[in-house]
Symmetry: C2
Subunit: 339 residues, 2 copies
């Protein structure tokens, strides 16, 4: 895509900044054909680029300040020249198509809200993650941007998630479920009970009703809507449970002699499964609802995950997820009349 | 325990009522030495007992009404003579030590609240479940009794959970964690941030700070406190993720020839792991905070799980979990003065 602006990659965010970030940018450029600009402190970025012989391939945009992985929302507000703030600024000016950061989620969300602002009519942003269900993935949102919600925000999250499923995953008619604690309409807490009523009467939305925690990986719906607190707890519970089961399995296998022999025979199958369920592989959370696309990579991301995140960001920008969200919200607005 | 009253088992609740319930009562009586009374419609219970040759061993208490598995809280309020209501009544009169029901959770909670009433000073009840962590189990509460909470209720849940860990699991100094979305104090939603402040200053409580979703199975703390909405979502997410991983693993194994051979060799290890992580095996949720012990068995429970639930109920009553909760709440009351 030579005519679209490049992806602005926050080179200073993440556990392995800047080296793995720069390596990811090189990989995205050379192997995936994604144009990238690196944002951050020029000297370490230049040196890392030089190690790849790539100083002529990828431009650098200077940002003096950085935000540590342990810093929260407040730190970012005090640093208008942080690498992630400058990356957002590039998108706002039209000099970049999207932002990618592996920095602290709270800092990226706060900076994005401040520098890109919410899309017209969007009450709060939400983080969408893609769960590795088969045959089709499942979008879960909010995974942690907005911890305290009102029912109306959950309805908007449904629209954000549906727009994401349409544009990013090519699903023509995404079915949306509300994450709660029982399949019946009246189950849940105060917020979800009211959200259920609103979702059931929202035009243009294929609302499939309530879903529960065990539906995260069954592919029952295409989009699962929840608040950022519950979504974050559920996502981390899922990741922890998958990791625990695989670890226990390896130990159970190692404990008995015939099982040890069996393990050698199926190493390939086990490794492929572990990789498919590894959040750093399927990861790439997307902050939706702002005037620009922001992809939040896992803090521990290495070059391949960073390259994937850059490709995802470029693809989302090219497919117009922001515009699609705007269309969906406009179409669902109650009492919307043309004359 | 010949001197303590028997456990009142709701023979009409659960997917396999009354046959598996009666079979569970027979097993509890004969194999575990637990005294049981069966509560429900006398005729089908008597016939099921006769099939085991156990009509002389286990008494029946008549209850004309039943609550269906798909019925919620409202149905129970209209049925004062339901099997679970009569079982609660036996505890209240001192004719039973505890209640066991495999009925709909919402119905059991509503009936328990109405018939047994909350312990003095307890704002809301909570359901405690025991997660299969090693070397020690982890108590998670609330798993679904109280969906909308105030911070003060979470502090009380911490006391309920600590009393449960002390009495049921024999942990002398249970460490309590607050389930939220970041380890730092200021992370979370409004309710958990305030609850964190209160928990940190509650006397007699070993508060270990925030824990996250991936800590459910790591054994980082002995007791994990959360509201009934988040706890229910997290628990079902955990169960679904474990089941999903084991299923995917079996499929991955079946897909390749050498792996298939390996699978035969390690069938025993895989089966033992699946059983340890099966909620129907480790299950047995306990409703805490009422004037009496109520064990809620999984709706799909068969005889062995019912027998375990009866043994758990008898043990909790004998160890005085209700009294221990009362002591803990009294000791933690602020501005508590004797003169």
């Amino acid at each position: 895509m030579p005519d679209t602006p490049p992806v602005a990659l926050d080179a200073m965010g993440g556990d392995h900044a800047p080296h793995e970030l720069v390596a990811g940018a090189v990989r995205a450029t050379r192997e995936l054909g994604v144009r990238v600009v690196l944002v951050g402190q020029p000297r370490p970025i230049y040196e890392a680029l030089a190690a790849h012989g790539a100083t002529d391939e990828i431009p650098i945009v200077r940002a003096e300040q950085t935000v540590g992985m342990d810093e929260g929302a407040l730190a970012t507000l005090r640093r208008p020249r942080s690498s992630v703030a400058v990356a957002c600024h590039l998108v706002r000016r039209g000099d970049a198509a999207a932002v990618v950061s592996a920095g602290s989620t709270a800092a990226v969300v706060a900076t994005g809200r401040l520098r890109l602002r919410g899309q017209p009519g969007v009450l709060r942003p939400a983080i969408a993650v893609t769960l590795p269900t088969l045959p089709e993935p499942t979008v879960l949102l909010d995974a942690g941007a907005t911890a305290d919600v009102k029912p109306e925000m959950l309805v908007q999250f449904a629209q954000l998630g549906a727009a994401y499923a349409e544009t990013a995953l090519g699903m023509p008619h995404p079915r949306v479920g509300l994450l709660t604690i029982g399949s019946e309409t009246e189950k849940g807490n105060k917020v979800t009970r009211r959200a259920h009523e609103l979702l059931a009467t929202t035009p243009g939305l294929d609302f499939a009703g309530n879903v529960e925690g065990h539906d995260l990986l069954t592919g029952k719906v295409n989009v699962i809507v929840t608040d950022g607190f519950t979504g974050n707890v559920a996502l981390k519970t899922m990741e922890g449970s998958v990791r625990y089961t695989l670890t226990e399995l390896r130990e159970a296998i190692a404990a008995s002699r015939p099982a040890r022999l069996g393990a050698v025979l199926q190493r390939g199958a086990l490794r492929r499964l572990a990789r498919r369920l590894d959040p750093e592989q399927y990861g790439g959370a997307v902050l939706l609802g702002l005037n620009g696309t922001v992809v939040i990579a896992h803090g521990a991301s290495k070059a391949p995950a960073i390259a994937s995140a850059c490709a995802l960001a470029a693809s989302l920008a090219a497919r117009g997820v922001v515009a699609r969200i705007g269309e969906r919200l406009a179409a669902s607005r109650p009492h919307h009349r043309l004359w």
